[in-house]
Each structure stands twice: as structure tokens, then as C-alpha cells.
Amino acid sequence: MSLFHFVVLAPFLMAVILPFFYYKFRSIHTGWFLLPLPLVLFLYIATYIPFGGGGMEPVIYSVPWVPSLGIDFTVYIDGLSLLFGLLITGIGTLVVLYSIYYIANKQDEPLQNFYVYLLMFMGAMLGVVFSDNLIVLYVFWELTSLSSSLLIAYWFHKEKSRYGAQKSMLITVSGGFAMLAGFAMLYVIAGSTFSIQEMISQAGTMVQDPLILPAMLLVLAGAFTKSAQFPFHIWLPDAMEAPTPVSAYLHSATMVKAGIYLVARTTPIFGLTQQWFWILVIFGLVTLTWGSISAVRQTDLKGILAFSTVSQLGLIMSLLGMASAALHFEYVDQDTMYVTAAMAAVFHLINHATFKGSLFMAVGIIDHETGTRDVRLLGGLMTIMPVTFTISLIGLAAMAGLPPFNGFLSKELFFTASLNAASFDIFNLQTLGFIIPVFAWIASVFTFVYSMMMFLRTFTGAFKPDNYEKHVHEAPWGLLISPIVLGSLVILFGLFPNMLAYTIIEPAMQSILPGLTSVGDQFYVNIYHWHGINAELLMTIGVVLFGLAVALTLPKLYGAGFFQRERDPLNAVYDTGLDQLVVQSQNITKAQMTGRLRDYMLYMGVFIAGLGLFTLFRYDALAISLEGQGGIPIYVWLVTGVLLACTLALPFVSGRMTNLILLGAVGFLIALLFVILRAPDLALTQLLVETVMVVLILLSFRHLPEMTKESKRLLSTSAKAVVSIAVGTFVTLTALSVHAYRSGADITPISDYFVENSKTLAGGYNMVNVILVDFRGLDTLLEVLVLGVAALGIVTMIKLRMRGGEDV
């Protein structure tokens, strides 16, 4: 176990001991105990950054976990995981700091729960990004789903929190399950390994396997649900019920990026298929557009940010799709085409984390200080909360893609990439490719619009103190530190993008496109503000102009239907689906579990007879041997006839006495048959048991009414008749076949041994008795145990009568 394993496990260990701190130091906010951990981890992970440039040599540490299932806890540190590790711990530090001021240490709120969940989440995220083994990745993946649900439902007394938590869990976990199946397929394709790196090394042969496509789809199901891609994005807006630090952390910077991570990580494998390109690009673009349009319709600030996140995730996803084209060109024509896409993806990932994080925190501050996030109530906060306003402005501008902030740069790269895509000489892109920039542009317009709207409706206009329950003022500095740091990064990365180029972006790109450069070579990542007046810039100008127009006319359109559907219509699918799931389950279950013994017997009878007869005929096993069947004495016929007459009369006679007497007669006649068939002990036992049974039944008649009349309905009677005859037929035919088999085969039953040895070895003449007490004494011992238990049970049943509810 390496030190890096502890980086992953440290948050879990901390989670275990944290409640101790919570209970021991009630007066100190628990967050303070926690804060050093992500910071230290951040710094430690940062030591792996190749500051000198020149790419990065991946580092692997492995410990076996469940080697017999191919599961090893292998930590793999390369550019991609490094990037994510830094995001997780870096944003994590800021979020923890922010949360200390955001979440009060109230007496009745289990604060330690919050931090335990948060630590679990942090550890799980680190696990996801640093695991080379797909199953370990999966383990952590599900843990992120779980801990994020718990965080969403932190205020679990609220109905909406519970709803959001359940939704996020169901959607992300179902994606996870699909992904697991995909992983299993990859394991099979790759020849029994779960190591991603080993798979990448044989990706060329893997994609030849027909199973690769289903595996890809399943893995994408996991990635898309996690990263809120259309149509799975619906959980994200509802997840906004989480405390805002959670949203800032999970729903902008980290968890939703896990899907992005997975796609990036598996691109070297799946990217070799052309479906990969199309699926990612299409889903990405649809998500991008859908998210940005939906964001405009929101009135809740966090709702806007949630849809904005959806949209931005779509953007990154589509970029990764475009980047995968590199694998089809074997990396020729590097700097102009797909490489831009990869670069844009990584860069935007970072940028999004910074500006969206800061925006969430700012919104949290507004919520915290005003008590509302509804843009219809807000307004004029520019002067009241100047710091928050500034932070927000920076974030919004970056989000809208305005210079000189980092968002502008990555959006320009995105435009470049989308324009490039249209010129690819593959996948029919030359004819269909134009839709990519079109979508990109439309989405960007709406992005601009909602950024504007947020700005306008929150900070401009008149300040209406009546709308708030509290006295509104600027937030305390503690709350402001984290967003300020992030806002500064937005500016810093905007102004000096190339400080990330060789340290972060290039190593990450190497992971996505491993053939991009051979190790040691430096790839050229260079990001400029000014490219001259090119198509991208024109597109941006168009976005701004058109966006402004929409943003200014929009308030007039609020009455239109477009804005009255704040909730995503796709939610209806989820909600009805869930309702119907329960309703239909109830219907199906009620249809089976009728509570009627008759129905149960009917169902089972049909199954038994059906399966039994099917088997009998399938093996052509039905046989009847007439050998030695002649010469049955007439008295046997008579006895059997009488026996059957009594038996067949049973269903028809009414009256319990008559039934009982018939039953007694049957019992006596069976005993007689035992005598005819040379079984004296059986005859004796049968007679005795029969008599005691009759006495018992007579005794219990006192507690029973006359038998209920059977219903005469033809349908139910014939159903019963048919099923019982079917079961009887099955048993009879099989018995006949066994008999026929027996007649034909040479079977030496083990009982020959008993015949030979009863006297000599067991000292008894009565073989049956010797078998009972000696050869098979255990059976006998147990049979009387059954009897004893039954009798004690009768006593218990009669004498111990409880009402229910006395105990559990």
C-alpha cells in the first residue's frame, strides 16, 4: 500500500473519527477539524504536477484487493487523474471553508453527518479518478452517488430534499448498474482484466469484438447519468435542495464531472469506434442546447445554475466526442483539428469549475443573506452586497463567454473545434458537420441570455426590502473568501491561460489521446486571446448582439407559455414512471398474492403439471410396461374399486360427518391394501394412525362449523378439476414410466443388504423394524421428534393466544 492509497482513503478514515471531534468539541465548528485534510491532499497531489513540462510519466501503485475477481486497488496517476484530483481537493478545501460559515452548528442538526457525507464523497471522488481498476472505480462511483444523495437530503425533513435525493440516487445508480455490466463486458473483451491501462494497450483488438458496442453504450449510460446528459439530466435541478456548499462542490465542480472523467478516460478505447464520436457529439450538443434553453426559463438562481451546469457538461461532452476523431486520423493534422477539441474540453472543465463554483457560492451568499433565491423577489443587490456582486459579475461574464475571462477562451476554442469538426473527412461530417457549429452557436446565445438575466434580475433594478424576512447586508468575510479565490482564478486563468498549458492541460490531453505525443516530447498547447478576426470571433459577436436583444426583450415575454414551464417536461417521464412502477407492481402482485389458497394451488398446479409433463415428453420418457400385470385376483379389484369409489366420492359429498366416515373408510382400505401388498407393519401403523386421526377430527368438529358449501360455479370447478387431473396425470404417467424403466433395467436395490443382514448383523427378524431402529435409526428418531414437536405445537396453539402487539 502506497502513500497515494492513503490519499484516497484518508477522507474515509477522517469520516470515521470525525464524529469524535464533533461530540468532543461542541463549541468549535466541526468544519475546522476537517479543513486541513483537503488542503494537505491538494498540496500533496500538486507535487505530482510536471512543472517542468514535457508531459508526465504515469505513476502506478497497486495493492491486491480481491485478486480472484481481478479486482486490484491500483492507483494510477496521470495527467487526467491529476487534474481531477486537484479539482476535488482544491475546490474541496474552498467548499469546506465556505461551509464553516454557511452551515450553522445548531444543536439539533447533526452537523457531523454533513461532514461525514462530505468526506465520504471526497474520498469516493478521489477513488474514482485515481483507480485504474474498473471495478474499484465502480465501487467509488457508487459511493459518490450514495454520499451525494445523503448530502442532497441533508435537510431530510423537507419533502423536496427527499425527492431530490431519491431521484439523484435512482438515476445515477441505475446508470452505475448499467456501467457495471459494461465493465463486465470489457473484462470479457479484454481477456480477463479490469485494468484500464491494460485495456488501452489492447484497444485495437478490443474494438474488433462485437461486444464493444453494447459495452460502450452501457458505460456511457453510467457516464451520462452521472454527468447529467440529456435526458438523464433531470436529477440535477432537483439536487439543488442540497445545501449550497454541496451544490458548489458536487454539482458544478466534481461529481457531475465524473462522467466526463470516465468518457475521457475510456476515449482511447471506445474512441476507435465511430459511434463514440456521434453519440458524444449528439448527446453533448442536445444537452448543451436543452440545458441552456431550460436555464432561461428558471426563476430560482440555483435552478438557473443547475441547468447551466447541464448545458456546460453537454459542451464538454461534445468536445470530447470531437476530440476522439483524433484516433481516426492517427494524430495527423494535430494543431488545427481535434486537438483543439481536447484542449477546449480540458480547459473548459477547469474554467467551469472555477466560475460555476464561485457563482454557486455567490448564490449561496445571496440565499443566506436574503432568505430567497427567487429572481422575481430579488433585485438591486448591486449596492447592498458589492463584493458578492463583483464575484458574481466575474463569474457570469466568464459563463457568458466574455473576454477577458477564462470562459471566453474555452468557448472560443469550442467554436474552433466545432468549426473544425465540420471539415473532418470522416463519418459523413462534410455533409452533416455544419449542424455542430449551429448548435454550438444557438446554445451560446442562450448561455449569454441566462447569464445576463441572472445579472439583471439579481443585481440591477430596485431593491425591495419587503421581499425578505431578514435585514439584507453583505456577507461576512468568511463566506466571501472562497468565492473570491475562485473569482480570482477566473481572472487569472483568463489572463494567463498558458500557466496551465504544460502543467495541467497537456498531461491531461495525453491521457485522453495517448498517442498524441511520445513521452518526453512537449506538445504545444498555447491559448491566445486574439486570433484576429476569424469565424470564432464573429460567432461570439453574434452571440453577444443576439443575446442582448433576447435578454432585453425577454421580460416582456414572461407571460408567454415558454416561461410558465419552469420544470423540465422530462420530469413527467420520471414521475409517472415511478408512480406507474409502484402501481403496476401492486397490480401484478395483487394478481398473484390473492390470499386464496385455491389460487396459489391452481398456479402451482399448472406449473407443476406443465413443467413435469413437458419434461416427460421432451425426453420421450413415457413408457408403460404391461409385463406381469395379469392375474390380479378379483378381490383385489373389488377392494381397489371400493377404495376408489370412496375416494372419488369425497369431492362430491357434503356434510363433514359423511366426509369423515368416507375418509375413515379410505384409511381402512389402504390398510387392507398394505396387507394385500405384504406390509404388515404398515397396515398396523396405518390403522392406528387412522383411528387416532379420526378421534382428533371428531374432537375438533366441536370447534368447526359444518363444512362450507363449495361454490357451484362451473368455471372455478372445472379449473380445479382440470388442474388436479393434470397434476394427477403427471404423477401417474411418470410413475408408470418409472415402473416401465424398472422392469427393463437391472436394478439391485440396497434393501437386499437388509434382507441379508437383519438377523446376523442387527439381531432382528422384522426387517422393517430393524431398518427403523437400526439401519435408519436417525429417521425414526427424527420422525418421533416431528411428532413431539407437533403435539407441543398443538398445545401451544391452543393455549397461547395473543392479540398481537404485545411484543415484536
Binding site: G595, L677, R678, A735, Y765, V786
Partner: protein, 112 residues
């Protein structure tokens, strides 16, 4: 003889299964009793009804019928006796608790 006995056993089992599907709580108990009769007959028959003396060595016969199925049936008779007695009491206690011996009425609520 075997075929006759198999058919007898089969018919008894058929009737037993039918009785298990009836409404009267007591008739079902009777069905259980009949079921065991049929089954015992089958065990005895399928082990072979070769002509031979009853399985007691005092008979000094050349051949004996198979003692093992007889021992098995004996065990089975005893067990089914215990179980049936228990079921019988269960049936009447159920009738007492619900004031009904009609399994149609003993369905319980749908949502249970």
C-alpha cells in the same frame, strides 16, 4: 398389479389435489390426508411389488418383498400424522379466530 396400484395412487392424488383447492378449511385438511395415502401407495408400488413373503425373516421364505419402502412409508405415515394433527388444530383455531371456515373469506386484505 403395479399398474393398478399406480392408477389408484394417481387417482387418490388427483382427488387430493382437488380437495386442496376447495373452500372449506376442513376439506383441505382431508385433502392433505388423502395426498399422503396416495403418495404412500406410490412409494410402495414403485419399489416393486415382486411376489415374496412379508419382510420378516421368521417366514423362512426364499424371497421377501422390499422392506425398505415399507420402513420409509412407516416414517412418512408417522410424520404426516403429526403434521396433519397440527394442521387440523390450526384449521379450527383459524376458524375460531375468524369465525369462518371459508377460505374464500380468509383471504385477508388485498394490501396485506
Amino acid at each position: 398389479m403395479e399398474i393398478l396400484m399406480i392408477l389408484t395412487g394417481g387417482i387418490i392424488i388427483t382427488v387430493a389435489v382437488y380437495l386442496l383447492m376447495t373452500r372449506s378449511i376442513l376439506r383441505v385438511v382431508f385433502g392433505i390426508i388423502m395426498l399422503s395415502h396416495g403418495v404412500h401407495l406410490l412409494i410402495l408400488t414403485l419399489a416393486g411389488l415382486e411376489e415374496g413373503a412379508p419382510p420378516l425373516l421368521t417366514e423362512n421364505a426364499d424371497a421377501y418383498t422390499d422392506p425398505l419402502p415399507q420402513a420409509l412409508i412407516l416414517t412418512a405415515i408417522v410424520i404426516s400424522f403429526g403434521v396433519t394433527a397440527f394442521l387440523l388444530v390450526l384449521a379450527y383455531q383459524t376458524n375460531k379466530a375468524h369465525d369462518s371456515d371459508d377460505l374464500e373469506e380468509l383471504r385477508g386484505n388485498a394490501d396485506e
